[in-house]
Assembly symmetry: none
Homo-oligomer: 229 residues x 2
DNA sequence: TCCTTTTGGTATATTTTTGGACTAATCGAG
DNA sequence: CTCGATTAGTCCAAAAATATACCAAAAGGA
């Protein structure tokens, strides 16, 4: 494990290593870490050094030291961005989109500008030319939803949906999605996209939101149908 | 990256390299960077040069130099996560909650368990005891909304709302929020929370969502009223 | 229960490491 | 050539790390 090139580790280094193990989740809440004397050996340092590192981690709230008993993890791992999103199941993603996108439509009505809408209709046109090209359609579709949320001018929403979109563009999800994309489904989507655009143009927030819900419902059906195959 | 053909690096170059490592996150907060003598060797420069670079980085606030101890990173890497959320305005947060929380209610009806609902009602009781204690109420309120989203069992949603909640617990936002929390407002909130709970208990997703919308509308009004003061 | 082992807590003398400061020689471009 | 930056040394003092010993609380087995 310890390669020959292991340099000397100071208390700060060891603290950083353990802190990272905890943040990463390798050491979970209430886990007991090895005795100081063992840690000393594994890290190749003296016990006093380990002790300094642990004392520091205790002050930072990462661990709790109980005399005679041991040292215990006392800190929840940070759920990192990537973890939360990468571990999300397709259904979780779907539910999240169900929460966000209809309201995004409402906000688009409120805050969107003509130039935003022009761009979105341009993408609609592009999608309509892709009836026989699922991959091309999928790309344009992602861009469309991205443009939609952009038009809300809400940086937080944009960021959230961007994160979600990053997953959607990979893995099984994409593959599964492409399976469901026959010409008929694409035509349905295109109609819905146009309807959404019209509702936004005519400043009808609730109608836009409702069509988006239908749109997502259609997508969810395709998804479950595909996963049953 | 630094191929054998590394030409002579000046103090400014080395400072730039290290600065970049820190910004990129390869060197994280509290990490100790190698001793000056080692850096001198790895960068192929004399110790005095390294020293100049480090001194400069210290003045810029990237590192902290402790005599006899070492040089430590004292700068958080730019994280898009925290940036997007920390720069969010209260109104953006509000719109995002408007998107998420009503749908969270629907999902709570679908996926929540009795134990979840018990916990939420316990929090309702706690809030009702805080009519004259805005701070206590606020804490319980945050926990309530957290418990609500927990009951959806959707890790992605939980993470998103967790992130948003972390901001909400700080800064002007909290201060502004407390200003708006007179006893009357708290009573209104409590009634709404109870109504939401009832709708979830009786498995009425749309009713729960609608009451949550009202609840958020109330909160938004309080907010705008406060910001006009 | 009692006894042993394990574990953290403390103390201390010693050695090593590390940054701080200074200097003279060297290199490079204007 | 001159001027600035760089280099390659040296010595210093503070900080950290080591090695060792002993104590007290907790845990576990007989």
């Amino acid at each position: 494990m310890n390669a020959p090139g292991d340099q000397k580790l100071g208390a700060a280094d060891i603290a950083a290593l353990i802190r990272r193990e905890i943040s990463k989740g390798n050491l979970q809440l209430h886990d007991r870490l090895p005795p100081e004397r063992v840690l000393a050996e594994t890290y190749g340092a003296a016990r006093g050094t380990i002790r300094k590192a642990l004392t520091r981690l205790e002050q930072e709230g990462y661990v709790e030291i109980r005399a005679g008993s041991g040292t215990y993890v006392a800190h929840k791992p940070d759920r990192s961005t990537t973890d939360a999103i990468e571990n999300a199941t397709p259904l979780e993603l779907m539910d999240t989109r169900f929460a966000l996108e209809p309201h995004v439509c409402r906000l688009a009505v409120l805050h969107g500008r003509h130039s935003d809408f022009d761009r979105m209709e341009e993408l609609c046109t592009r999608m309509e030319a892709c009836t026989e090209d699922p991959v091309g359609f999928s790309e344009a579709d992602t861009e469309f939803h991205r443009a939609l949320v952009d038009s809300t001018r809400n940086g937080l929403l944009i960021w959230i949906i961007d994160q979600i979109g990053n997953v959607r563009s990979e893995d099984d999800w994409t593959r599964m999605r492409h399976l469901t994309l026959d010409a008929q489904t694409i035509r349905t989507y295109n109609v819905q996209h146009r309807q959404i655009m019209n509702a936004i143009r005519t400043r009808e927030p609730e109608r836009a939101a409702n069509i988006m819900k239908e749109h997502l419902e259609t997508a969810r059906l395709s998804l479950t149908r595909a996963s049953e195959t």
